[in-house]
Symmetry: C2
């Protein structure tokens, strides 16, 4: 083999991405702002390790050689299987089970960090992404759900979504359970089929879902999907339930009460929603931020009580500028049996989770990208090795004034240095030749102006007058001049 | 099997830790402050994925079944071996090789995030920890080293180390190489033995190192360590070199010039240090922050030019209050052949890296723990379900005023609620009974005071007069009262 062919190819593994400054700045800003909200709500930070034992993650299959379905797993020296966490809930359950006796209860924690899914990567589908979760463990009160909902709404607002640009939709698993009990449906398979049918409301409308709730439905291609097998009356009751959403939470409660019949579980679900409504009112969360919506079924299989889904309402556009429906930007709910996997005891818990990159994408798609624009540093052009000391003194002054700055440290000439500054999105390049050092002056080239002119954003002649592209000024005036460029 | 024995045990994998709010707050504050410094220096953020292909990491052994020496590796669906990154330099090399044509050059990036080492865990030795790196790729100028050094020093200061509490020690591989060339030593094995001997200066002193530079040394147990095999004159030259550190950088340069003899490589190393010194002077970095120290050899095997080591000078104590020498809190240097693994072309690079938890430990050990104290929320005691709306209104007001607050949401009585607030390190508990709601008042219990009294920090009688442990006040006065407690 030649030496070259022995060299590894430089490529990142499939489904993993390198993220540059612009994306990172937006995601860090989201996490900083959301963390501040969560801490104001009394949630404390927790960070667990990347690995969990596979049995603790619940992905260990006794029959399989490797527990690698959906997770990245490997065997430790002592033969135990470990896997990278696929969400932040499973590590929380393990942590809580492990430390329960020592924790203040209820235990309120938030966490963010990467999670890993061993799935087929595709466009926009990554095998590593950052999640941000908040959960209350050890409270069965519906008010704990309400706090999570209020906090999710406030967090999304802090992340940059305007009021009215998103809404948290709330449902409760017990309502549909109660409705189906009244209709005589008790098999889990049938319940699941009902949930799957209702989940297609957006796509198929009430008529399509009616078929799926009953015997089944043939699609355009002729393929037949078997239905849930409800009788006509039960199917109508389910459809009436899913349509019970109204403008205000209390109207929706009334509408639900009229359709779900008087089962014990349904009444319990209604009572829980009523308490959530009261707590949200106390917290000042109106219908512009949180509504009851019986058509929300995502996660109902998993959750045991209240379910939340945060939906983006803002108009968004795709890469080609076409309007697209963005959909969910987070979700959660009450799950009372996760810790029981370890302890055998049911421990009430409720939480909310969102994908940080996905929220950043939503904000970008809605033209609401957060935070400071990522700017390059002011670049001091390196003309002569002899003046390096002067260049460094200058960048030291700029940095001390809070202005990012650097001396060009490559080996190229003036033109390449200017190109470098432009590619870094530098606001300005500074020229400090021997004559200027002697005269106590400095020449500033406004690169922002150059970019605006070449993009046709500004009128050339009008701007030239008051904003010269390049000017030689006394050194004492440099920092104010740079601030004017940065703030322009 | 019984149901209980089928339950997984709740435990975290060996060598992985759960980190709670206090540690996380300190580490996040370090990263926030250091990032701000690095960005002022014109370094841009980069985040690569957790996995790299094993061949790109340089840990793939063609003979071995699994490339698992020191790394966590697993095979992807397509049979390619991937491994979790063990540092942030290898992913940088891969990224730079992959994107070189599109990057602004020199490329200056900083990064932080977890790295993973598949090593035997032990006390204080973890298999996952957070590193923070900054590197300049594509500049062979010694001024690029100087920038890294200045930035490391400023970053450590921003992280909480006081001036004089740490120092960046600088050496250059070329100096010792030149010295040994003059002494006729050219074998890599002998050079390595010299480095290992010099690395023991702290522990063995000059006499012990003299033996290790020559034929060898027998320790107290009688075990013999073979030496580097230098003749007496060469050994003395090495020892004189390592002792050439002086109070100022220019004096050290003079002292080194006197001892290393006139080899081409040694002169090159000296010239590089002189340019580093000039740039550091321009940047205002004095001998209180960065010194030349020829006794620094750690990493000399790996680096190709300048080497940096940041050492803590502050007095530190261990858990028992005993003084301990903390040592290094970070290091780096110039490595000109890392990208060449992929491209076949030497690409000059220089950088600095520190462990975030280790720096946090250093700050803690020196009594300089950073950032805000981690406080619990103000806890509103839950007396009655009927008043829940009032409680939530109150916490909403406190949160809007920036005061972390929560309603107790467990099922326990008054005493357990107070205990909960105490364990959360809440500054205050608030009681809002029916009478108080009617009267527009609120009762505040100062839990900080309680903790101070029980710790014997304050004089009971004197404090009671001006700082009542519990007081009932008009609701409009609540926020100012809480601020007084928080600021006390």
């Amino acid at each position: 083999m030649s030496e070259a062919s022995q060299r590894p190819e430089a490529r990142s593994p499939r489904g993993f991405v390198d993220r540059r400054a612009r994306d990172l700045a937006a995601e860090r800003e989201i996490l900083t702002r959301v963390s501040a909200v969560y801490e104001r709500y009394g949630f404390e930070a927790l960070d667990t390790g990347a690995f969990e034992y596979a049995d603790a993650l619940g992905k260990f299959l006794p029959d399989a050689d490797r527990p690698n379905e959906g997770v990245f797993a490997l065997q430790d020296d002592d033969e135990q299987w470990m896997a990278l966490r696929y969400d932040l809930t499973a590590p929380l359950a393990r942590f809580v089970a492990q430390t329960w006796e020592t924790l203040p209860k209820p235990f309120r924690r938030y966490a963010f960090g990467p999670v890993w899914r061993n799935e087929k990567p595709g466009p926009g589908r990554f095998r590593e992404f950052v999640q941000c979760d908040a959960d209350t463990v050890g409270s069965s009160r519906p008010e704990a759900d309400a706090e999570i909902i209020a906090m999710a709404a406030e967090g999304l607002g802090a992340a940059g979504l305007p009021t009215g640009g998103y809404v948290v939709k709330i449902n409760n698993r017990k309502l549909l359970n109660g409705l189906l009990a009244t209709a005589g449906v008790s098999s889990e398979g049938q319940k699941l089929a009902v949930l799957r049918a209702v989940d297609k409301l957006d796509r198929l409308g009430a008529d399509g879902v009616r078929l799926l709730l009953g015997e089944g439905r043939k699609d355009e291609s002729g393929a037949f999907t078997k239905g849930a097998g409800l009788d006509a009356k039960a199917a109508e009751a389910v459809l009436a339930f899913t349509a019970a959403g109204a403008a205000s939470r209390s109207e929706t409660l009334d509408a639900i009460a009229r359709v779900i019949g008087g089962s014990a579980e349904g009444d319990e679900g209604l009572a829980e929603l009523a308490r959530i409504d009261a707590a949200l009112k106390g917290l000042g969360v109106g219908a512009d931020q949180a509504v009851f919506d019986p058509s929300v079924v995502r996660g109902l299989e998993y959750y045991t009580g209240a379910v939340f889904e945060a939906e983006l309402l803002l108009q968004t556009t795709d890469d080609k500028g076409e309007p697209v429906r963005f959909g969910s930007v987070g979700g959660g709910g009450r799950y009372d049996d996760l810790v029981a996997r370890f302890t055998g005891e049911r421990t009430p818990a409720t939480g909310f989770s969102f994908g940080v990159s996905r929220l950043a994408s939503a904000l970008r798609a809605a033209g609401r990208n957060l935070g400071r624009e990522v700017r390059g540093p002011v670049v001091v052009i390196a003309f002569s090795q002899d003046d390096m000391g002067e260049y460094f003194k200058l960048v030291g002054e700029l940095r001390a004034a809070g202005i990012p700055a650097e001396v060009y440290l490559g080996a190229s000439g003036m033109k390449a240095q200017m190109k470098y500054a432009d590619r870094r999105l530098s606001p300005a390049a500074i020229m400090l030749g021997g004559d200027e050092v002697a005269a106590g002056t400095v020449t500033v080239k406004d690169l922002d102006l150059g970019r605006e002119l070449s993009a046709g954003v500004t009128d050339n002649a009008a701007w030239r007058a008051e904003r010269p592209g390049q000017q030689t000024i006394p050194r004492a005036e440099l920092i104010p001049a740079l601030r004017r460029i940065l703030e322009a």
